[in-house]
């Protein structure tokens, strides 16, 4: 701000120019927003080994968009599924759905080793704010794979060798 002071009755006229300089920092709250947990429906994905099961979730929210009540204020977000350790890619879960949600998680276990309770991880990332220290938020995904019941209906057969 520059201020010019003048007083013409003074001889010679008094004139002085003073300048004060300051900066205003504008902060993007998305740089520090906290990503919320994904809300799954149903809350636990239960599936029988050999079958498929699904659960859905809407676009994950974050603290600033909730505070300001403006959806996806911090723009798009990406999702990746991991095993319990949060590092290894999920083995029998897949993610589908349009950008912006709703998103669908499909479990398709096929191995005996898949049976049991799981806590998969859903990593949510704000695409435009990689420097946000709260980015890459992990939400646990409860998955229960139950053992299959005996069902010979699907047995496979092979032809015996020709008998001459």
């Amino acid at each position: 701000m520059t201020s010019v002071f003048t007083y013409t009755p003074q001889d010679p006229d008094f004139t002085e120019t003073d300048t004060v300089t300051f900066s205003i920092t504008i902060i993007d709250p998305c740089e520090t927003t906290v990503i919320n947990d994904a809300v799954f429906s149903p809350t636990t994905l239960t599936v029988i080994n050999g079958e498929t099961g699904t659960m859905t979730f809407n676009e994950v929210t974050d603290s600033i968009e909730v505070l300001r009540n403006i959806d996806t204020l911090c723009q798009s977000r990406s999702y990746v599924l991991y095993m319990n350790d949060g590092v290894t890619p999920a083995s029998f879960l897949t993610l589908s759905g349009p950008a912006g949600g709703p998103h669908t998680i499909t479990a398709a276990p096929t191995l005996d080793a898949h049976e049991g309770p799981w806590q998969f991880k859903l990593k949510t990332t704000l695409d435009a704010y990689p420097s946000n220290a709260n980015n890459d938020h992990m939400t646990s995904i409860p998955v229960v794979v139950n053992g299959a019941s005996c069902n010979p209906a699907g047995l496979g057969w092979v032809a015996t060798p020709q008998v001459t």
């Binding site: 701000m1 003074q10 008094f14 002085e16 003073d18 205003i24 504008i26 902060i27 709250p29």
Partner: protein, 194 residues
């Protein structure tokens, strides 16, 4: 009939008013002292008036000018603003600390004498001027300099910035504030309170 020589008696002595003294000072002076002009014995007029006075002068007795003075405003004989003008009896002490006393102050002197009548005369003017030398440059604000997007309108309060004239003339100046703001920023100036 015997006419005896008069004895010396200064009672009827006459004084003349001193010439006008005009003291010009400034707020930045820091304080000055001005001698109070005193009435002067008019020997000629006094001797014509009374042979007793002539006797005094002819016999070598001086009708001295001793007396006391005090100073008042000539407009209404009221007391002086003691913080600005005060009298020591022989001098007026002028202490002009701010622009409130800028102007001409006509003073009346009341001189009470050992001999002769008390006299009053308007023979001392105090003229105070003030010349602005500078105005302080205010410090930049240190608080409220951060705005988080999507919050309500944010204002930086500069009302605490006080511009002071040196010396303290207290003149009403013309002030014009202008801003240089990055055109790309969303910051605007409240024109109603720039």
């Amino acid at each position: 009939m015997t006419i005896a020589a008069a004895d010396c008696d200064c009672t009827g002595i006459i004084r003349t008013f001193p010439t006008l003294v005009t003291h010009t000072g400034a707020v930045s002076d820091g304080g000055t002292t001005v001698a109070i002009p005193e009435g002067v014995v008019d020997q000629t007029a006094s001797e014509l008036l009374n042979p007793k006075i002539r006797k005094c002068f002819s016999s070598g007795t001086v009708c001295n000018n001793s007396g006391s003075t005090y100073v008042v405003k000539n407009t209404d004989n009221s007391q002086l603003n003691a913080a600005f003008l005060s009298s020591t009896g022989t001098h007026v002490v002028v202490t002009a600390t701010n622009g409130d006393v800028v102007g001409t102050h006509n003073l009346r002197i009341v001189m009470t004498n050992q001999y002769g009548d008390t006299i009053e005369y308007d023979r001392l003017d105090i003229v105070i001027t003030c010349t602005i030398a500078s105005i302080n440059n205010v410090a930049a604000p240190t608080t409220g300099l951060q705005y988080v997007l999507y919050e309500t309108t944010h204002s930086v309060d500069l009302s605490g910035s006080v511009y002071t004239q040196t010396p303290d003339c207290r003149f009403i100046l013309t002030m014009a504030h202008t801003w240089a703001i990055d055109a790309a920023s969303p910051i605007t100036v409240n024109q109603g309170n720039p």
